[in-house]
């Protein structure tokens, strides 16, 4: 039966690196991109006899993440060891949290196809990052040797486990994006999927529409972008549907997403799955938090996307679409609010940010935080437009120059001579020239083809290099043409 007749069930396990300055259990730096093995010490290398000392900041960040996801924060939680052998795991166990995580029972809300969706967060727990294997060949099996870089080893991570609440690959992608926004807002992670500071594994299964019992699931790994999350799950849903249609059973297994080939491939079966032999970490004492401590973090939490969304609608009268798009992106929202400090019409600002601003960002591949245009200069640009000093068309030209050079709009207008022509005699002169040079269209207009007016206005704008006040160009052209009738 077609995929539409199946219900897709997806749950995600998301790992996010916390942006603490030092590692979870030692004082080594967490900065990205340093020389291999330059940020290591006996503790994070797991040398014999060393012991972990918990980084309090990491606990604070995990609590902050949990609160941002509306979780219950445990006043008592503990660490456990997850045992497995791998060259990038120095102690051959990862310190993680098993049965008593630091945060539980939260949710993530977002809008998908115009409808509100809530995905439950089962738990958020704190754990340490592993190192990184670098293989000499293209793949591990074709490599002569592998090298280990332990700089990453011991960086604090949170794992956010969702309920199996998502019903489409698109929802899974939007969930991930929303989660990223929330974590960025809470200032706990930079969430860069390309640097690996945000990663996800997905569990996906199919069941016939109307059924209540979930089908056998597969786990998908190695999805390194938001797009890949959606693509991989779309592929896997189709693959599973085809299997079921052939009367085959879904094999419970872990599969890896091959982005280049656009397929998921078997990685290991349930039988090969690790027995991690979790047990309480005897080298660390439990994490005991007071309600005062938790409340203080709660009070210090910045305004989160959902709150912003609602405020934008009530306070600024933005349409839902605009409010959602801007509030979803922390940097964009910060910029938006900064512009509003100097300019009142929120809709003008949101139109501009969603339009010209985003267009140039994409074109020049610039991050919002690196944009040269100061928010107050953008406000000034709107004022120049309102006062009629420049036309809306010229405003775009001015903005482009501001975007490249970082100059304020007045300087750009002055330097490029872009002040709008609102002088009647000058406009009349241009209008006269246009009429003279376009006898055929003028004749057509006079014969009643009023549509031609648009073309003639365009000619006026072109002739004035876009500087003519468009309204005046229109008015005076009509007036001049009327006189010819």
């Amino acid at each position: 039966m077609p995929l539409e007749d199946y219900t897709i069930v997806i749950g995600l396990e998301v790992h996010s690196e916390l942006m603490t300055k030092s590692k979870l259990f030692c004082g080594c730096s967490t900065s990205f991109g340093s020389e291999a093995n330059s940020q290591v010490c006996p503790v994070c290398l797991g040398l014999p006899g060393t012991l972990p000392v918990l980084n309090k900041k990491a606990v604070e960040f995990a609590v902050r993440a949990g609160l941002a996801l509306d979780c219950n924060i445990a006043t008592f939680s503990k660490f456990d060891r997850k045992n497995y052998f791998y060259p990038d795991l120095p102690k051959a166990f990862q310190v993680s949290q098993y049965d008593i995580p630091i945060c539980q029972k939260g949710h993530v809300d977002f809008i998908v196809n115009g409808e509100k969706k809530t995905v439950g967060v089962t738990r958020v727990h704190l754990e340490e990052e592993a190192g990184k294997s670098v293989h000499s060949g293209a793949t591990i099996s074709t490599s002569d040797f592998s090298l280990e870089d332990y700089n990453r080893c011991g960086i604090p991570l949170i794992e956010i486990v969702s309920e199996p609440d998502m019903r489409s690959p698109e929802e899974a992608r939007i969930y991930m994006e929303t989660l990223r926004n929330i974590l960025r807002y809470a200032e706990v992670s930079d969430c860069k999927m390309e640097e690996g500071s945000l990663r996800c594994d997905a569990n996906i299964s199919l069941m016939p529409k109307g059924a209540t019992k979930f089908g056998t699931r597969t786990e998908i790994k190695n999805m390194n972008s938001f797009r890949a999350v959606q693509k991989a799950l779309e592929y896997e849903a189709i693959r599973q549907a085809a299997c079921l249609d052939r009367g085959e059973k879904i094999v419970q297994e872990t599969r890896t997403w091959d982005d280049a080939a656009g397929v998921t491939l078997p990685m290991r079966s349930k039988e090969e799955a690790h027995d991690y032999r979790y047990f309480p970490e005897p080298d660390l004492v439990p994490i005991v938090l007071t309600t005062e401590y938790i409340d203080k973090i709660k009070n210090d939490l910045p305004e989160l996307p959902v709150a912003k969304f609602h405020r934008y609608i009530t306070e600024y009268a933005l349409p839902e679409y605009d409010a959602d798009l801007i509030s979803a992106n922390k940097d964009l929202a910060t910029y938006f609010e900064a512009v509003l400090e100097n300019y009142k019409d929120a809709k003008v600002v949101s139109n501009w940010l969603m339009g010209e601003f985003m267009r140039l960002l994409n074109e020049h591949e610039v991050e919002i935080t690196d944009v040269k245009v100061k928010p107050k200069d953008l406000a000034k640009l709107f004022e120049l437009q309102d006062k009629g000093t420049i036309s809306s068309k010229i405003a775009k030209t001015v903005f482009e120059e501001m975007f490249i050079s970082g100059k304020d709009p007045e300087t750009v207008v002055k330097e490029k001579g872009l002040v709008q022509i609102s002088d009647v005699s000058e406009i009349e002169k241009i209008v006269a020239d246009v009429i003279k040079n376009n006898p055929d269209p003028v004749a057509q207009y006079l014969e009643g083809k009023e549509k031609v007016l648009g073309f003639l206005v365009g000619q006026v704008m072109k002739f004035s290099k876009g500087k003519a006040n468009p309204q005046m160009a229109n008015d005076y052209l009509k007036k001049a043409l009327a006189e010819l009738k």
């Binding site: 006996p42 014999p48 006899g49 045992n83 060259p87 047990f279």
Partner: protein
């Protein structure tokens, strides 16, 4: 020989009076080591050069009146405590050439205080054993009878002190590894409260049970060494933040009215007759000092050994997983891929006892067995701890045998792991409960082998334990040490 017979505190006196220098003491001990080491084999690595340098530094400190209680008095350190750029083998082939880039906190304390380290002592591989017979470097011998084991796992440290190769030594005790060898070699050995001494730099066997402690020739020296060892360490979050008392102050206190508990069944079946008689003599000695002898019950003690061998092996299976050949230690030549390399490295690097315990522990933690074994052991551990809480509601300290028998012969138990594990039958409870316990000499067998008794105190009860031990030592006397006919 006269200098060798002095206790650490007697040496302190001579140093302060400038009748002897630290260099002379260290040179005397190095000579003694040279003479008897071929018989005793206490050490894996000797650090003569470093010890002499440390002695000179100590002499400076003494001259400048900056000396601590043990400044200038040499010590032997068990080979599972990390020493900066000095081999730390854990008695294993796995760490044959391992030179740590850091000092254990206790070793750093020794260096800072000017305590010269004579060398690293032999031990059962990764502290797993009760005889030093599992050491990759061969067994140490009991100075009282070279045909017999010195006990273990800290057998090298105990043998060194008993053979007068060192006045002091450090051991570690996970289930009796200080107390059992102390008992078998006729010296004093103390396992402090869990968390009293930092574990940073102690290569872990079972993290929730391991504790470093002193080996000395008498109780007062142990108090002095414990002063140096104990203290909060920010590098070990399981170390206790409590202020540490001066344990020397505990010595010489009147113990009249002290309530000494004796467990109902502790002198029953399976106990060597001479050991039982010696414990009874100690009970009488306490009574004659005015202590009150109280019969107590520790109903869950019979589960202690089983509990211990589940908890300890489970933790060990995880602690010893890091020896995979990737970053340090032995690495197999079979390195076709990482899994092959892991397997061969561990097959080649670990001895049979270590492998046995890793397998036991792995099994106990495995899916489907966790609840029946590990979780149940944790529950039993809680019950054992509650037994002691109840007992210490009635008594101040508990007296028991340290070991069921005196030093046994080489080969006697090594092929029968269960018989070997029974050596720990009286000692594991203190580790499971996290409370302090010590062994001290209390008599000799008719064959002239030392017999020890164990004192157990509530958590952080080291003062009362040491004061009782000091009084008992005065009452039962000391038994000398073998000269080894040098």
């Amino acid at each position: 020989m006269e200098l060798l017979k002095k206790s650490a505190l007697e040496l302190r006196d001579l140093l302060d009076k400038r009748e002897v220098s630290s260099r002379e003491i260290v040179e005397t001990y190095l000579k003694r080591i040279e003479a008897v080491e071929p018989k005793v084999k206490s050490f894996v690595t000797l650090t003569a050069e470093e010890a002499l340098q440390a002695a000179d530094k100590a002499d400076e400190m003494i001259k400048e009146k900056k000396a601590g209680l043990l400044t200038g008095i040499p010590i032997a350190v068990k080979d599972n405590m990390c020493t900066y750029h000095v081999e730390t083998t854990c008695g294993s082939k796995m760490l044959e050439n391992f030179k740590p880039p850091y000092d254990a906190t206790v070793v750093a304390n020794l260096k800072e205080t000017g305590v010269p380290v004579l060398g690293k002592t032999n031990m059962d591989e990764f502290a797993m054993g009760s005889s030093t017979e599992t050491s990759y470097y061969g067994p140490s011998r009991n100075p009282w009878d070279l045909e017999r084991v010195p006990g273990g796992s800290s057998g090298g440290s105990a043998a060194a002190v008993a053979a007068m190769e060192a006045p002091l030594a450090l051991g570690s005790d996970t289930g009796g590894s200080i107390r059992q060898p102390a008992s078998l070699t006729g010296i004093v050995g103390v396992k402090p409260t869990y968390g009293l001494v930092s574990r940073y730099g102690l290569i872990a066997f079972a993290s929730s049970l391991d504790q470093i402690g002193p080996f000395t020739r008498n109780v007062a020296d142990s108090a002095a060494l414990l002063n140096l060892l104990s203290g909060y360490d920010p590098k070990d979050t399981t170390s206790l933040p409590h202020a540490r008392p001066d344990y020397m102050q505990a010595l010489g206190k009147d113990i009249k009215g002290l309530k000494v508990g004796v467990a109902k069944d502790s002198l029953g079946d399976g106990l060597d007759k001479e050991v039982a008689a010696t414990v009874k003599k100690s009970i009488d000695a306490f009574a004659s000092l005015g202590a009150e002898i109280v019969e107590i019950e520790l109903p869950h003690s019979e589960y202690a050994l089983a509990t211990y061998y589940l908890v300890a092996t489970a933790e060990a299976s995880s602690n010893l997983a890091r020896f995979d050949g990737v970053r340090f230690g032995h690495r197999s030549q079979e390195e076709k891929d990482s899994v092959t390399m892991f397997k061969h490295t561990r097959a080649e690097g670990f001895g049979p006892e270590v492998k046995r315990r890793i397998m036991l522990g792995t099994y106990a933690l495995s899916a489907g067995f966790y609840d029946a074994y590990y979780l149940k052991a944790l529950k039993a551990r809680t019950l054992i701890k509650s037994d002691f809480d109840a007992a210490f509601g009635k008594v101040d300290i508990i007296l028991s045998p340290t070991t069921p028998s005196v030093a046994f012969k080489f080969g006697e138990k090594i092929s029968d792991p269960l018989a070997m594990y029974l050596s720990d039958v009286f000692t594991t409870t203190a580790n499971l409960a996290g409370i302090p316990a010590m062994s001290m000499p209390a008599g000799l067998t008719t064959n002239g082998l030392p017999i020890g008794v164990q004192l157990i105190a509530p958590a952080l009860g080291e003062e009362i334990m040491l004061s009782a031990a000091y009084a008992l030592e005065k009452a039962v006397g000391t038994f000398g040490l073998p000269t080894l006919e040098v």
